[in-house]
Amino acid sequence: MYTLTLEEQTYTCQPDETVLDTLLREQVAIAYACKKGTCHSCMVRSPDNPPPEAAQVGLKNTLKKRNHFLACLCHPQQDMVIKLPDSSEFYTEGTVVVHEMLNRNTLLLIIAFKDAFEFNAGQFVNLQRSDGLTRSYSIANTPQIANTLEFHIRRLPQGKFSAWLHDDIKAGETIAVSEARGHCFYLPERREQGILLIGTGTGLAPLAGILTDALAHGHSGSIYLFHGSRDVEDLYRIDEMRQLAQQYENFHYIPCLSAHHVPDGFTRGRANDVALATLSDLKGWRVFLCGHPDMVNQAKRMSFLKGAALADIYADAFLVTPN
């Protein structure tokens, strides 16, 4: 018999029980439905040790890497610490070291930590204000850079949190940052695979991290980045991306504008439309989609129909918290 630890509580998993059986018997509030590994409702995480392989069947590679597993399929092989998806989070205090504008409405925020911050490029964290107001933001840098996290914060109309970050917080002040989450990140495998990155607005943040990570790992397949917005004033990092495209033969950068006025060097159209018109066959490609939920859902379906395997499509839809 093995012991399951959840927050401060411990439970005993009987020999014939799955982790889900034990938690339900103990009346732990855990989401579940099919109890046979199909619906993924009962996905939980084992932060300390890899869970049994049989409990990860059908999960995406990046979820497996982060030790996510299905409680309904898990017969423990050792004592386990378990985190539910909504388990209260551990926050670390960081200090704002850079606070400057990337374009007319996007703030570059860099937060420094005393110790190394564990994450994969492309993941997101929750930032929390002292009154408890919390929002999720994607990390834009890679872990190779010393103990800092970089964020691109777009000012939203009536956005309480983005207004606070833009107008009130200053370099030198502290902010609470959660552990990194999400499964939209690069794994250094199949380096010859084509990679398609499509992002709108600050969807560039996680994609820039993923791109840097892939290039640093010597990814040899073609990498295409389509970054879109309405007007040229709402794109950013244009020169840096162009420079990278010159430096790396396999990297292609296509900035897209959906408004009428399209200056030289930019492509007319929505980023997802341009991308899917440019690349006609995505069989064997890895696809990363970040930004507006409508764009993400549409691009997900289209990339799949153009041949990308569902397991190779990673999506991060930016949901806006209603005020």
């Binding site: 046979k36 199909t38 993924h40 059908g58 997900k300 379906r301 799949f304 129909l305 569902l310």
Partner: protein, 129 residues
């Protein structure tokens, strides 16, 4: 034991190749369904990961593998689609996609016939009759 006898003693699921066969079929099958103008509207507002997981469970059942679907599950799971007009023609279209998928994977015709027969057993539950 001759190889014919051996084949007869193995389940359909084993003969087709078990979970590996399901994994090989699921993307091809789902892509065909989404490309079929007769039925793709039924899949417009679903989460693709959730739907793919359901397709896997369905294929496992159709391939004669372990599953715990009951007729009641089938009815409940499709009731909202029946309200949208799901009928025999749509059921036939899905079976057509499945057959095309299996042919693409070079599954022998006699196994395809067995799989289609299993699908047929769910028709009335799926269509809420």
């Amino acid at each position: 034991m001759s190889s014919t006898q051996e084949n007869e003693s193995k389940t359909l699921y084993d003969r087709i190749g078990g979970e590996a066969a399901v994994n090989a079929a699921v993307d091809i099958f789902y892509r065909k369904v989404l490309n079929d103008y007769r039925i793709n509207r039924f899949f417009d507002n679903v989460d693709m990961e959730t739907q793919a997981a359901k397709q896997k469970a369905f294929l496992t059942m159709a391939f004669g593998g372990p599953h715990s679907y009951t007729g009641a599950d089938m009815r409940k799971g499709h009731a909202h689609l029946v309200k949208m007009g799901l009928d025999d023609s749509h059921f036939d279209a899905v079976v057509e996609s499945l057959v095309a998928t299996l042919e693409e994977l070079n599954v022998p015709q006699e196994l395809i016939a067995e799989i289609v027969a299993i699908c047929e057993t769910t028709r009335n539950d799926v269509l809420g009759r």
